[in-house]
């Protein structure tokens, strides 16, 4: 008898939800996709909400504009780095001995969408696996009256022989990183709400900060870079107060001035020290960026660096008592999230890919990022809370979720190209300083914080912040690397990383000994 009970229960558990599902899901929603619908294969790290809303939105738009239904066939192998790896290995399989790709490549995937401009600029474009986006110059001009937002390119800078832009990727929305915090926990800690990055260096936040790993997340790394650049910009402003004559000098001339270079180098070092204290306060460096808002909302962390829409959606769900988001004014990076067509896509598929980009840049596609649920043209299930990239659509915000205008928030301060030199190596240095030697950092930080005398503790903190590295040295890594034979490059990089980690560990140990009076 018992055997039949279990089998019956098994069948019941298996099928009951299917029946319940039929009862609660409306027949329209279950309606099968049109048989003659076209299919566009899109590889993306975007979450399910974004995938669903844009699949519905694009299909509607395409029926209205081109009279044909389209199914977005998503491929989701994981995060941005998984996508990069998969695309690279897909194309590498077709390369000849010299690394050249044949003219015809039978790839399955048409479009890559999302993952941040860093991935498109530094990985996909150099790999030579993107092709010029098939859109009209008029659309490009209409969508991007300015190619840059406070110094950051909104679409790829490639141009044809005639000088006309032939971008390999185009931004379709904007991302910013800011501070997400839990007001309740801040109250318990007796601290005011954070406003600027420096507020996260407070020693009372030890173990209360949630950070993304700079080695894994391009956008988090850009944010850490903004902390550095803010410190460099402050050092520059102070330098100009002392040397007003150099304020209006050409950048090239300024850069040659040793006093100026020294001042900027000091600013960089101060920024690194600030970041080190934030890292010292960190509970962890997560690979999965959803963890930060979840932990802050639960009170496991008091604050974290989070991407804007993650924070805003979480705030909407759990309430502003437990989650709020601040964009540090004049100290945040606002970067585009791009779309691109993959090399080898031809014919009808290329035409459809063009339509998809056209939709993403259209006012309808742009508003879908930020409209409230239920508003005509808005999302069906949940608001996406992302910032459109077309400046023009900000003029009429009817039906929008509350948002800041990124073009105003940037305040003219965004990434400075000349200060992005050595960005890749800076990421490596952060990895060595925070993660590879993380245990030594924690031990030293704890020792410093347990010094009871305030003045001495401050001295110790300053000592800890004084990392044994300079900006000149980081800039020089690239030069040194270029001298290495190609086949020794990986080895050289790994050895360099070991050396830096050792250097930082020695520094932390020395500070720890000092703090413990040994």
């Amino acid at each position: 008898m018992q055997r039949y009970v279990y089998i019956l229960l098994f069948a019941l558990v298996l099928f009951a939800p299917l029946l319940a599902r039929m009862a609660i899901v409306s027949p329209q929603a279950r309606e099968a996709t049109t048989a003659n619908a076209a299919r566009l294969v899109v590889i993306t790290p975007n979450n399910q909400d974004i995938r669903r809303e844009f699949a519905i939105g694009f299909d509607r738009w395409h029926v209205a504009h081109y009279g044909q239904s389209v199914v977005l066939d998503y491929r989701t192998p994981g995060g941005t780095s998984d996508i990069e790896r998969q695309l690279k290995s897909t194309y590498d399989a077709y390369r000849d001995a010299a690394g050249t790709l044949p003219p015809e490549i039978p790839v399955e995937i048409d479009v890559v969408w999302g993952g941040g401009d860093y991935s498109f600029n530094q990985v996909l474009k150099p790999a030579g696996i993107l092709q010029t986006a098939p859109i009209s110059p008029n659309l490009l001009a209409a969508a991007f009256p300015e190619p840059k937002l406070a110094g950051v390119r909104l679409y790829d800078a490639t141009s044809g022989p005639d000088g006309k832009p032939t971008p390999l990727w185009l931004g379709v929305c904007l991302s910013s990183f800011g501070i997400m915090y839990n007001p309740d926990v801040f109250e318990r800690l007796g601290l005011p709400a954070p406003q600027v990055w420096g507020d996260l260096t407070n020693e009372r936040l030890d173990g209360f900060i949630s950070l993304a790993d700079p080695g894994h997340s391009g956008s988090a790394a850009v944010t850490y870079m903004m902390v550095l650049q803010r410190a460099m910009a402050d050092a520059e402003a102070e330098f100009f107060l002392r040397h007003p004559d150099l304020r209006n000098a050409p950048a090239a001339q300024r850069a040659k001035d040793p006093a100026y270079a020294q001042a900027i180098g000091n600013g960089w070092k101060h920024g690194m020290g600030q970041l080190l204290l934030i890292a010292g306060n960190a509970r962890y460096f997560t690979d999965s960026s959803e963890v930060v808002p979840t932990d802050v909302a639960r009170g496991d962390a008091a604050a974290g660096m989070a991407i804007d829409f993650y924070a805003r959606v979480t705030e909407q769900v759990v309430g502003s008592r437990r989650a709020q988001f601040v964009l540090p004014v004049g100290a945040t990076a606002i970067t585009p999230d791009p779309v691109a067509v993959l090399l080898g896509v031809r014919g009808e598929r290329l035409r459809l890919a063009g339509h998809f980009i056209e939709f993403l840049l259209s006012p309808e596609g742009q508003r879908l990022w930020i409209l409230k649920v239920g508003v005509p043209g808005g999302p069906v299930d949940r608001s996406l809370w992302r910032m459109p990239i077309r400046r023009g659509v900000y003029a009429d915000r009817t039906g929008w979720e509350p948002t800041t205008d990124p073009f105003e928030v940037a305040h003219g301060f965004n990434e400075r190209g000349e200060w992005m030199v050595g960005f890749g190596d800076t990421r490596m240095i952060w990895g060595c300083a925070w993660i590879d030697s993380g245990d030594a950092l924690s031990a030293a930080y704890s020792a410093v914080l347990s010094v009871s005398d305030d003045t001495r503790r401050r001295e110790m903190i300053n000592g800890l912040m004084d990392l044994p590295i300079t900006w000149d040295e980081v800039k020089h890594i690239g030069v040194e690397r270029a001298r290495q034979p190609r086949e020794r490059m990986d080895e050289w990089d790994a050895e360099l990383r070991i050396q830096f980690a050792r250097r930082f560990r020695d520094h932390y140990r020395a500070v720890k000994c000092l703090a413990e009076n040994r």
């Binding site: 098994f10 599902r21 894994h216 509970r283 496991d300 437990r322 080895e491």
Partner: protein, 583 residues
Amino acid sequence: MSKFLKAGATIARPWRNVSTSHWLLAAVLLAFFGVLLIWPILQIVATGFRRPGGRLTLAYVELIFKDPELVRGMLNAAGVAISVTLLTLLISLPLAILSVRYEFPGRRLLSGFLLVPLILPPFVGAIGLRLVLGRFGPLTQLVGGGPLGIDWIGKFRFGGMVVVEALHLYPILLLNLQASLANIDPALEQAAANLGASRETIFRRVTLPLIRPGLFAGSTLVLIWSFTELGTPLIFNFYTITPVQVFRQILEVSSNPLPYALVVVVLLASSLLYLAGKVALGRGFDAATTKASVGATITRLHGIKAMAAFLLFFTIVLLAIVPHVSVVVTSFAKTGSWYQSLLPRGLALGHYRQVLGDELAFPSVMRSIQYASLATAVAVAVGLGAAILIVRSNIPGRGLFDALSMLPLAVPGLVLSFGYLAISIGLKASLGKRMPRILDVQEWPVLVLVLAYAARRLPYVVRSAVAGLQQTPRDLELAAANLGASRFTVLRRITVPLIVGSLIAGGLLAFSFAMLEVSDSLILAQRSDYYPITRAILDLSQRLGDGTYIASALGVWAMILLTLTLLSANTLLGRKMGSMFRV
């Protein structure tokens, strides 16, 4: 015993007399291992030995030993693995003895509950633990944590990891020990008792040596699993440990051969651990231990003894089901209502409704059941074949099959999955349009998924089947053969029925772990119309704000279904969970 050993020795034939069927079996198995393990591993691992331009090098392996952090990671991994194995043994051995040899109130029910860790879907388990161990979570509320709560995860990292892993992995050892204990012929222990041996002496001199196959099988699995465990260290933010170091470096933006070299070192270290276990526990197995010729005697416990046994079972069950309970409670909690309180402040059924309405969730469960069932069938067939070769054949290098079948445990799932993907992509590039669709992972991942699940979960089946064969006297098979039965008839009528308990034990482990497999599911099932349940849970759990709750609802449903699957499979075979391993 020596008489049996001698009999075994005289039966052994020179290797050139290996039967054709064993050669054939070896060829099939080599093909299976070659295609599903060696090829993908080589595909990926070669990166760790090749300089750009293709020249071979050992430089990257040398670098690993130059890096004090990586060396410390290795030592930490070994430390965790050894501690977990010892703690698992400490938990499982008394439980196994009590559940097989004694009867007390609640034994049957609690014995079933002891297997609960097997049905916890990943991610969901992590969600449950993070919740319980949260700074202001239920544990903090229970002990009264003060205004700033208690950072359990930050404070008790090493110990916390060991306890959590042991509570997750003990069923593997428990199942194997139960099977081994049930296989012991009580006559041997009775003989020792008749000769005046004390209980302690009988256990040390008779029982323990006789259950060595199960002890070896179970503890090897636990040792290697915990050595390569990735999820738990990630929950505890423990980065200086090899699996996490490999994972983080592989996922890093820059391509770097070092993690692949590190994988090779992990492989070698796992093999060493395996060999060490074999030397310590696995020497001299033979069919010397006999199947029970008389029924096992079950002692009924009364009074304080019964109470103590009940309490031991109850405590372990209670600790083991903490993540499950937390997942169940979360699934019924109103979004955001479980905050700084022992229990949620509001309840809701909405998350179940969300799951029901989700396009991905339900089809994914049906698919997972199909994939896992097929994979289990493949794993049991291959595992039985491998076990026969390892235990019953004289084929040269049969130890190789033993090692090969354990290989999937030592290779991070991520590496193997990327290997499959790379092979499929490479095949497509060279075959072009002639590429069969069933081999194209990006178009139809089902075949590769099923085979990948089977290969990844093979070690459980092989270990169980080998343990079963080692405890089954060969005499019975030889007698059947003498009476004219063909090899296949002997296999079908004698061998398989005798070790069916071990096969079921291995098969059930393979099934439940295949249902809950992560790496293959994430990397290989990229099209949502082929998503298995783990992939759907991950997608749901990443939903901002309420993802935890919705993923928990699907997790609860998966747990119930998995429990019923195990119970149904069990009752279909006409045996109850507790007595299943007494063949």
